[in-house]
Symmetry: C2
Subunit: 205 residues, 2 copies
DNA sequence: CGGCATCTTGAGTTGGGTCAATGGTCGTGG
DNA sequence: CCACGACCATTGACCCAACTCAAGATGCCG
């Protein structure tokens, strides 16, 4: 589920970066419907993207951590199709779309990387469709934790000791379950090493 | 959920097309894991893409009809991440990836179109995540039919009289429900005008 | 006409939703 | 420093939508 970027790519991307922006926890970066002029890369912190259904239901479509790129949904119609919110104090790099459109032909390789990143997002989404469409609660949560573990590991953090920056409700929204269900599974599944507390949410796997 | 292509774009895409390929109903175009060298556009017929879970469970991730492009998932790692199968006798255009990578700078607009198409696939996937994560059976089926209706309409067919080329089981796989549930909902929901038969599966909405 | 695949329908079970109560954590202000 | 309130997480009791299992029914094709 991650949208990884290789260090090399990150460096190249840096050249495209226009500005950075700091976001306090809970602040919205962009809203559904607003004009889309940029893509974003998480520099520090944690970002969620969510879709709002008319009747108030929401579905979280992604959690993004340092090094991961998001905002691809806005390219189609030049308007964001979801809302993105910081889960904790965060910093994002802003990459103006015009720079991508008028990209220097020399940077063709970068162009190609962008295709790959978008493709990876699509693969991730298909994985989520599989998860939502044919896995049980326990499996969903397990897959989610394993995925997080992997992403932390890649970034040099312990894959065994996860700090969940999102609330139970948000996990539920992402995995298509209610808070209570998430909570019950957390209680049931974990082996002896499990630790949990609110706000700073630790978890061993 | 459609990956629409404007007529203008289709024309430009034609220049990139290497060959076409006919597929008998039930034939697999590519398998998960096989090397990915192309994208595809449905010329006639109906194509499904599905993900295979280790334990035999499958999740259909998309249905594609005339004019819609698919195969974006293969770009990330140069290997297909799903399997695509013809639901009926079909014809697809094959667009070699190398042509896209070495695209003529004059066709920058085409480049841009490709980004849009991929972005649209991402938006579609997020819609599916919303559907799978927070809608009831009835709502899912309704959304599915409305979407199909819309896509047929765009292509000049009646939006009221749909010909479903996929089986109940496939609809179920796509929408995250079992065959029986799909069948029951079909029985329950439809107004008077509903017609159904096997193989040629008609449906009024 | 018979065989096979698909679809429908029924009966019973269950995973997860709903509602409601409890308890923990944190931030704020007296 | 402690009391209060807001927010979050957990837990229990109950319920229902969707799953499972098991027949039939229907349509397709050789």
């Amino acid at each position: 589920m991650p949208i990884g970027t290789s260090p090399a790519l990150l460096k190249e991307l840096d050249e495209l970066v226009y500005v950075r922006r700091r976001l306090k926890s809970g602040i919205t970066l962009y809203h559904t419907g607003s004009h889309c002029h940029s893509l974003y890369v998480v520099k520090t912190g944690f970002i969620k993207t969510e879709n709002l259904h008319d009747d108030g239901r929401t579905q979280i479509t992604g959690f993004y951590m340092a090094g991961e790129m998001f905002g691809f949904d806005g390219i189609a119609d030049e308007a964001h199709m979801c809302t993105s919110v910081a889960l904790e104090d965060s910093e994002v790099c802003i990459i103006p779309l015009e720079r991508i459109e008028n990209i220097n032909p020399d940077l063709l390789r970068l162009q190609h990387h962008l295709y790959k990143l978008m493709s990876r997002e699509i693969v991730r989404d298909h994985t989520m469709m599989m998860l939502l469409g044919s896995m049980h609660g326990e499996e969903r949560l397990a897959a989610f934790m394993l995925n997080l573990s992997h992403r932390f590991h890649v970034r040099g953090y312990s894959p065994y000791h996860l700090v969940l920056r999102m609330k139970r409700e948000e996990i539920g929204s992402y995995l298509g379950m209610k808070v209570e269900t998430v909570s019950r599974i957390f209680t049931k599944i974990p082996g002896p090493g499990a630790v949990r507390c609110t706000s700073k949410r630790y978890y061993d796997s």
